[in-house]
Each structure stands twice: as C-alpha cells, then as structure tokens.
Symmetry: C2
Subunit: 337 residues, 2 copies
DNA sequence: CTGACGGGTGTTATCGCTAACATCATCGGT
DNA sequence: ACCGATGATGTTAGCGATAACACCCGTCAG
C-alpha cells in the first residue's frame, strides 16, 4: 500500500469526471445562472463522488477577498466580552464566515495595532474590535479606512461604526427601580472609569437620580472584580444612610453582597442591591440578584450585519446601533427599612 | 484624486525596487541562507518602503499549507472552556498561528463533524477539539487520520493526542483535604455524568474516600449550573449527617452555599464545601470558597505543542499530557461541628 | 591550467481558482 | 431565410507566491 499523499481533488478533476470544463464547475459552485440543470446535476454528482472541496486559498488569490473576519479581543474571561465573542463566532459561522481571533493581553494602542496587523496579514475581509476603553479606542485611528471595521462596546464619541449595549438605559432602569422601591437615593459602585461601559452606566444612573430629584452621592470607583466590589461594599456597609446600591456589574455586586453580609446588613431588608450583566450564577447569589441583562446575541448579530454591509458595499454610513438591555427582577431589592 | 484602489504591492514590486528578482525577495522572506547580506538589506529596505506584506493565500496555494489552526468549541461561557480557549488563542498567536474558532451549539456528533468540515474547507494546518463529553468524543472518529488533531478535556480512553487537567488528582486532593479536617466522609455533587471532567472528579473523590476507609455516599448528580447545585444543596442541607461537600465546580458550590445558607446551616461551621475551577469571584463567595485551580495556560501550551509537533513531523506518537491542578485553601472548610 | 564545486542569483513552471473573452447553438422577429 | 440576441459552454490569462532548475562566477584541488 504505497498510496501515500494523493493530492486533494481539484476543480479539473471534477471537470474531467463530469465531462465539462473546469470553468463550468466553477460556475456551478458559484451558482452562476447560465448552466443547464442537467449539467449542474452532473457536476454536483462528480463533486460528491470525489469529495471535492474548493481551495479557498486559490479563490482568495484570484478574487483578492477572503471569507475571514478578524476579531481583536482582550485576553480575559470577563463574562460580557466572552459572551459577546462566543455569540459573534456563532453568528459569523452561520453566515459562512470564519472568525480568526487575535487576543491581546492589554488593551493598549500598541498591542491592538499589532493584532490588527496580524489580521491584515491574513487579508481578512473585515475586522471587529472589542474596544471597551479609551486606550483601545485610540488604537482604531491606526486602522486604514479602506478596511471594513466595526467597533463593539467602543467609544460612542468616535465616528466608527459601533454596536453597543445601551448602558445608559440599563443603568437608568436599574436606578429608577431602586428609587421606586422607596429609596431616597442610590449609591453607585462603578467599573473602571476609562471603560465606556462603566461611564455609560454612571451617566444613566446620574440621569435617573436627577430626574427624580434625588441627591447624587459620590461615585465609588472600582474595577470589574468581586474584590473591588467587596472593598467598596465594606465602606458602604459602614454608612447607615446607604440603603440602595447599583453596582456596575454582577461581580462587583457579589463583592458588595459579601461585605454587607459580613457587616450584618441584610439584603434586601437593610440594603438593596442591583447588578449588571446577569451572569448565569446571579440567580444563585445570596440573595438572588436583581440585575440588568444585555442581549449579547443581538449585539453580535448587529455587529456582523454592519460589518458585512461594509464588506459588500464598500462605503458605509458609519452608523451606530444600540441594543437596549432588560431589567431582571429577583430578590435583592426591597423597600428601605 | 482618482487614485481609487491601487492594488497592494506584490513581491515583484519589491523586487523591482530592490533591483533583484522576485525569487530573491522570496528567499529573503523565508530566511534562505544563500543570499548576500547586502542584497538582503536592500530587499528589506524595499519591503519596508512599500509596506509590502506577503500574500498568505498565494503562499498557501503553492505550499498547500496554511498557518491557521482550527478550534472546535461549544458555544458556552462556562469558565473552564472559555479560559482555555482564551489561553490557547494567545499561545497560538505568539507562535505565529492564527486561530479560527468554530462554535457549536450542542456537542453532538453531527454538529462537531460539520464544524470540522468547515475547518477542513479552510485547509487548516491542524485542529483542536474541546470535546468534554462522550458524544463530542465520538465525533472524533470522523476526523481523517492525516489531519493533525489534539483533543482537550476529551476521553482519556481514546487514542487521540490528548491534553487534560488531571481531574482525578484535583478531586482526590479536595476530598482528602476535607477528610483531614476531620469529616468522617465527603458527599459529592457531580457535573453531568457524560462529561469526562465530571467522571474524572467522581473517580478521584471515590479513590480518596476508599483510601481513607471512609464510607462512600451516593453521588448527587447535577449539571454544571448554580441552579443544579442549589437543588442538590437543598437536599443535602436537610440531611444532618452531611458535614462535607465536594462540588464538581464552583458554580455548583455556589448553589450549595446558598441552599445551606437558606436552611440555616453555616459554612464552614456546620458544613464544609470545596469547589473546582477557582473562578475569579470564588474568593468572594460567602464564605470565600476553597477550591481546586487548574492551570489553563499550561493546558493551552501543551495543546499547541502537541499539535505543532504533529504538523511538522507528520506522524505523532499519540501522546497524552496531564496537567495537575492545585488546591486553593480559603474559608469554606473547617472541622465538623 | 583546468574542471568540479558551490554560493548567489535569475528564469520558468506551477499551485487551483475566477475573470474575460471566444465560440457555437438555438431562437424569435422581420 | 437571415440576423442579432441570448444561453450554455470552452479557452486563455492571470492572481502572487514557491519549487526546481539553469546560470554565472570565483575558489580550490589535481
């Protein structure tokens, strides 16, 4: 058995078997209209018989286009970005595009530029950058204008096509929900201030307070970790006037819950807490966490749509799309004591 | 300004500028030894001046090889798989390989086979399949032998190259830790039984009990969710003889913690709990969770190593690599009341 | 002094595909 | 019955790289 590596069948092999020219095979593959039905069937049969699979490299070489989308994302397992990425990969796969992910350790301009370059080397059809903070957004200036680009969770001020969760609305709803439960004001534990998501949530929170003529307490700044939430919570737990807290994500809320618990302040009896993200386990925090749920699948779909629009039409209207999240009520909110 | 789309510079453009043939440019690019230093510099300068970037499609066409690695993973945001994937993308990127991720909604044979086919269409150099349960592992039979393949978290019984966390050791350590704290036995809330990770943890747990002549209680079967852990916990909380629980992951443990809390059984005073995974927020559960931490980065590195070995050497010894996890002690374990 | 050798370089063929054009029936309208 | 339009197919020329081989030269052993 000296078979060894018989090369994969190529278009000409299919053509020979079907008794047509390779060009006709190409036409069948690309659903060109001017092919007789009978010929089409014969070619299809030959393709199947040989197990022929088109060589994408050859096609890309001649057309100058690939079916690859590059994604630049941070190397983190934060729930939001991870969900988004996963949803995007699925959506792109269904649309017949492969997704190449370039991970970046830190979201600085240099790293992102390098990741973008790697994708350009691969001649991707377009790029999606998950650029949730300002240093990441700055890096977008380096991306050449002719490369289709969509930013996710990026800078709302910048004029690149952008898809993002409507942070403002989510935060507004969360805060209003707490006010309507009877709290005179709501404290806010914020994510890192250079993240647009965090900034948007701060704005929504403030807008809600102002609209209801509630006092606006100082923002308690943190990062996204439960550790930071715990620290913030320790401080808030010591202040008896704090009866309602809106945390910028569920992990922060988790830390707050623990700090409250340790201090003997019961949730929701003494203090109400609302989070953001609706991580799968939020329902099993103590107590089950009321939170804001973004629709990551929708964000992914919109992102893909915007990107493919640019890919096919060349020019784009540089639009932005915003996906409204929804408040999920559980048991961490109650009236003030 | 009718510039429009001037095509990207090709090798011949570089050659012309440097005053050499395109072949010499190719040699410089591929670090071929027989190029005079002076020529090499001239070519490098021309490359830089034109901003030339090699066309991977053209190279792939003639060499028949790509620099792409396909990964098949489930479309989930489970912490373990997500961490692994992220770590792998980073490792591959550093090695100069692009990673194309094919997400699969469910881990059945058909879906996985389809994802593998999509990767084959792209002529990937090799494939990594995260195949944590038996139906996923079954799908591997369809992968042609000549395609480099590494399985992660897959079936230890199957003879494909495999990298996995040493579930047995982790579970053994966790269980032993509880026994040494003084508990007469340890109950186990298991992940889905068709997952190899879950099965391996059950085995390690049982082995520890048997080795210490402890009674082996029935396994409480669940899936990976906090909801299932909560349900299991409700049952266990009602049984006064239960003083120690090893949960198959941290989310299950979270559910158990909540159930215990609701029933008034204090952790670790009345009941001790250990998890698995060390999710970032585990430190902020109530109480901070003692758990087992796998080294996902190490798994990713080994996986990439094994795959590239196959890619370059053709044949492989079909090895398996196991990465030992480490017990992280926090505050959810104490002596029995 | 000469021929073999090997380093440095160029020339040509080729990978598998699509684009563009060429060819050849067939067909309806005058 | 002729003609241009149209449909179905074939032919040819690249896309941008690498592989294989040819070539020119200097060096060195015989």
């Amino acid at each position: 058995m000296e078979q060894k590596t018989t090369r994969d069948p190529a278009m000409t092999d299919v053509a020979r078997l079907a008794g047509v020219s390779h060009q006709t095979v190409s036409r069948v593959l690309n659903d060109h209209p001017n092919v007789r039905e009978q010929t089409r069937l014969r070619v299809r049969a030959a393709i199947k018989e040989l197990g022929y699979r088109p060589n994408r490299a050859a096609r890309a070489l001649v057309t100058g286009k690939t079916q690859l989308i590059g994604v630049v994302a941070q190397n983190s397992t934060l729930y939001g970005p991870a969900s988004l990425l996963s949803a995007f990969e699925e959506a792109a796969g269904e649309a017949g595009f492969a997704v190449s992910v370039g991970r970046v350790k830190v979201l600085d301009r240099e790293s992102i530029a390098a990741a973008v370059e790697r994708h350009r080397d691969q001649r991707v059809a377009g790029i999606v950058v998950i650029a949730p903070n300002s240093s990441a957004a700055d890096a977008l200036a380096d991306v050449p204008a002719e490369l289709p680009l969509v930013t996710v969770d990026g800078d709302p001020e910048r004029s690149t096509p952008l898809v993002t969760v409507d942070q403002g609305v989510g935060a507004y709803d969360a805060t209003t929900h707490l006010l309507q439960a009877g709290h005179s004001t709501v404290w806010h534990v914020s994510g890192p201030t250079d993240w647009f998501d965090a900034a948007g949530r701060v704005q929504g929170w403030r807008r809600a307070l102002e609209l209801h003529n509630a006092e606006v307490p100082p923002v308690v700044a943190a990062d996204w970790t439960a550790a930071a939430g715990y620290k913030a919570g320790q401080m808030l737990a010591r202040m008896p006037e704090v009866t309602a807290v809106f945390a910028s994500n569920d992990h922060l809320a988790l830390g707050v819950l623990r700090a409250m618990h340790e201090r003997g302040r019961r949730v929701p009896h003494d203090v109400s807490v609302v989070g953001f993200d609706d991580v799968p386990e939020a329902e099993f925090f103590i107590p089950p966490l009321t939170t804001v749920r973004p629709d990551f699948a929708a964000v992914a779909r919109e992102t893909l749509g915007l990107l493919l629009e640019q890919v096919s039409e060349g020019e784009s209207t540089r639009p932005r799309r915003t996906i409204a999240p929804v408040l999920v009520q559980r048991q961490s909110v109650g009236p003030p004591a």
